[in-house]
């Protein structure tokens, strides 16, 4: 079964209100774009949970509180589990038409928070979990996370040691392997696509997961005005991809015929400046390998149907 074509949801459909305002994120922060736009899609009947990380650190400094709708910080590990509680309370208290959304960083999602995320998906709790992926622990000063890409310099994978020796964990495939109700990858370089996916997640009766690449000028060593462009280039050069998973089906939203060159994309970022030509080749090789898997989903896996029938007696 193929994925529903989403009605495009554009700038004009977004709520006119700003729900993330006056925060203290660095100028040009990609995470802020992700949070701001998602909240504008979801509207004011939204309960937001944000774990420890940049978005909470910059948004909740009493008495400067940047979320204009209901929001709370969770423990670092507890985004999904707190969301589960929020969602349970929404049901138990009979609150109608409300969303429970989380914005968690890559560390909060792929490392310390994966236990709670895995549990929430397993319970099929009605929550929207958005991982804004800036590819390191930024709030604490750019340390390697499970989503830091191969070769990237962080303060715990210094350039002297060649940057990160590990590849990026694939959270999208991991949540898909859970049989999640809806999952998607996105990028703030493709905002319309991102907006559409958040809008899709709104309608899901169960757990949705959106993994949005959100450049961090401070951690990546780029200029503040480059964030959107870099996020787009990441997709264009094939180091990131735009996809969805629903009803056990994958769907690739953007199928690059050929990839934009890697080197300029990498070299404009301070975190990759130490890479040698052969390092870049290695990165390209892993990219190509990854894309063989991705293309497989897309070409071959869109066939079967899936039905979700609860037990008659339960």
């Amino acid at each position: 079964m193929s994925i529903d074509t989403k009605k495009a949801f554009g700038a004009r459909d977004l709520s006119d209100r700003e729900f993330f305002y006056g925060h203290k994120a660095c100028a040009g922060c990609g995470g802020s774009v992700a949070v701001r736009l998602a909240l504008k899609v979801l509207g004011e009947r939204t309960f937001t949970v944000v774990p420890a990380g940049c978005m909470s650190a910059v948004g909740f400094i009493f008495p400067q509180l940047a979320f204009t709708s209901n929001a709370i910080i969770s423990t670092f590990a507890g985004t999904a589990s707190m969301l589960s509680g929020v969602s349970a309370a929404i049901r138990a208290l009979g609150i109608k038409d409300a969303h429970a959304v989380g914005f968690a960083g890559d560390g909060a999602t792929a490392d310390i928070g994966i236990q709670a995320l895995s549990g929430a998906i397993d319970r099929r709790d009605k929550i929207i979990y958005i991982c804004y992926d800036n590819e390191a622990y930024m709030n604490t000063g750019v340390q390697k996370s499970g989503l830091t890409p191969l070769g990237a310099r962080t303060t715990t994978t210094p350039a002297t040691g060649g940057g990160s020796a590990a590849r990026k964990k694939d959270m999208f495939e991991i949540v898909a392997a859970h049989g999640i109700d809806y999952a998607a990858t996105a990028s703030v370089g493709y905002v319309q696509d991102y907006i559409n996916k958040v809008n899709k997640a709104r309608t899901i009766e169960g757990t949705s997961y959106i993994h949005v690449l959100a450049p961090c000028p401070t951690g990546w060593g780029t200029e503040p005005d480059e964030s959107i462009e870099i996020a787009k280039e990441a997709v264009d050069c094939g180091l990131w991809y735009l996809a969805e998973f629903e009803n056990s089906d994958y769907r690739l939203n953007r199928k690059p015929k050929e990839f934009a060159p890697l080197e300029p994309f990498l070299k404009r970022q301070g975190r990759y400046r130490h890479l040698s030509a052969s390092d870049i080749e290695t990165i390209a090789r892993y990219r190509d390998e990854k894309w063989r898997r991705i293309r497989r989903w897309d070409s071959q896996l869109n066939q079967d149907t899936h039905q979700d029938a609860p037990l008659a007696s339960s």
Binding site: K24, A25, C26, A27, C29, C54, A57, V58, I61, T218
Partner: protein
């Protein structure tokens, strides 16, 4: 800071740190003494206030200044702060740094200014400290910068 150590003096430097991100104004303190410094309470009174970003200049900036203390500001036009009720010394550190380093990184230039104004440490101590802390190429440019900044504030003969 590090410069003082090359004179066998003691220093305690407290960078400030907060939830705010790159771009937000930040505050730091340094104590320098001939004896070991153990006082770790916040610095409330100081001899010098060094302002690296002119846009932060406001009257409150000198609130903790001791009588006779000085404000050293990164500005091409320091004279406009003259009647704030405290002594202001200006240096166009941004310009100077841009010229010397090719980047508007003003810390070293302002260090030169501070040394010139305060005589707190000797210039050559600062030079040695820079040599030790930075890689050679960077160090050379910065040494030039600290010297130029220092020179530009020497009383004209």
């Amino acid at each position: 800071m590090a410069a003082a150590l090359f004179e066998g003096r003691f220093a305690l430097a407290f960078p400030s740190f907060g939830p705010e991100r790159r771009g937000a104004p930040v505050l730091g303190f340094t104590r320098i003494d001939d004896r070991k410094i153990t006082d770790r309470s916040a610095v409330r009174e100081c001899d010098y206030v060094v302002v690296l970003d002119e846009t932060l200049m406001n009257p409150a900036i000198a609130d903790g200044l001791k009588p006779g203390g000085k404000v050293i500001v990164n500005s091409a036009t320091p004279s406009k702060y003259a009647n704030g009720g405290f002594e202001v010394i200006g240096l166009d550190a941004t310009g100077l740094a841009a010229e010397t380093l090719g980047k508007p990184i003003t810390n070293t230039a302002m260090l030169g200014a501070l040394i010139a104004v305060s005589s707190m440490v000797r210039l050559d101590s600062a030079v040695r400290a820079i040599e030790q802390e930075m890689n050679p190429k960077l160090a050379q440019a910065n040494i030039q910068l600290v010297k130029r900044a220092f020179a530009s504030l020497q009383p004209k003969p």
